[in-house]
């Protein structure tokens, strides 16, 4: 309530800032680093992150396919980044819920790319759809739909405080 409202940015300023924010967010998430997430691209309302094939993340030694859970983590993080990028003022967001459909096994050895797009925001809520594919976006391995909520409430910090902005704080209702 008592925060000073940050100046409204131009679209160009927003994009410049998002291209700083994206790598910071991906590089500043310990579990993302552990899973080998690599920032790929960002735009207003959308984000792309890649995950290299990694034998440590296999879900079944018999098939050598990456675990569904690793794909879930990638979709969650990418969707959160897309949600953040959709808000005019950069605020932390938390996942409310995430639904993933697994269409097929990813091919062993191939990297996985997640592409997320926020298709609607209200004042506090962002709706995001994403897919994960292993090379061909038209033949995805998984598809997701998620709802994010801004956090921070009364103590919301002004813009441009990257440290407080991680997309995957699981904090609801405050």
């Amino acid at each position: 309530m008592t925060d000073t409202q940050p100046k409204k940015k131009t679209k160009e300023e927003r994009l410049t800032w998002l291209w700083e924010l994206g790598p910071m967010m991906v590089g500043g998430t310990p579990h993302g680093i552990a899973l080998g997430f690599r920032f790929v691209a960002i735009d207003i309302g959308s984000a792309t992150i890649a995950m290299d094939y990694n034998p440590k993340l296999i879900g079944d030694t018999e098939t050598r396919v990456m675990a569904g859970g690793a794909v879930t983590a990638l979709l969650d993080q990418t969707s959160g980044l897309a949600a953040m990028s959709a808000f005019e003022q950069t605020v932390p967001v938390a996942t409310l819920d995430l639904r993933i459909d697994y269409m097929r096994a990813a091919e062993p050895g191939k990297n996985i790319i997640a592409e997320a797009r926020c298709y609607k925001t209200t004042r506090n809520v962002a709706f995001v759809r994403a897919i994960a594919h292993d090379g061909d976006p038209d033949n995805p391995v998984a598809s997701s739909q998620a709802v994010f909520m801004t956090t921070g409430g009364g103590s919301r910090k002004p813009d441009l405080t990257p440290d407080a902005l991680t997309a995957d704080t699981k904090e609801t209702g405050q």
């Binding site: 310990p30 879900g59 859970g69 879930t72 969650d76 639904r99 995957d168 704080t169």
Partner: protein, 140 residues
């Protein structure tokens, strides 16, 4: 008709999931009730400022819990595959051990429905719940 569940069988199943090892997942067996634990580790943090667990790590933990429970109940050496999975994030995961327990809501011949609850302090204040359909893979 409760299936035979013992720690050797569970360990054998977890051994086939490198990602479960990566997350440090261990089984806790109380009679036939299986609880999984994911010990706290710095590299499952999602937000270093809030010291909050990464939602993806908790989700992955719950998926492993579901899959192992299914393989035990079905006495199948092959893992079921997630088809549609929904995850509700209720509370922030704090930097401490997380527990999860799976319940099979419906067992069909091809598809199972499973609910998993993950908690830290108390079973009654879950941090995350997962519900999903898993496709059974028959042993050859």
């Amino acid at each position: 008709m409760s299936p035979e569940i013992n720690e050797a069988a569970i360990a054998a199943q977890l051994d086939k999931i490198p990602y479960a090892k990566f997350l440090g997942i261990r089984p806790l067996l109380m009679g036939n009730e299986l609880t999984m634990v994911m010990p706290y580790a710095d590299d499952i943090i999602g937000n270093p400022v809030l010291k909050a667990l990464h939602g993806g790590a908790v989700s992955a933990f719950m998926e492993v819990t579901a899959i192992v429970q299914l393989s035990l109940e079905n006495k199948s050496a092959r893992f079921a595959k997630p088809v549609g999975v929904n995850i509700d994030y209720l509370r922030r995961g704090r930097p401490k051990d997380t527990y999860a327990r799976a319940v099979i809501m419906r067992q069909g011949s091809r598809v199972s429905n499973v609910q998993v609850r993950a908690w830290q302090d108390s079973f009654d204040t879950p941090i995350t719940v997962l519900h999903g359909h898993f496709m059974l893979t028959r042993d050859k």
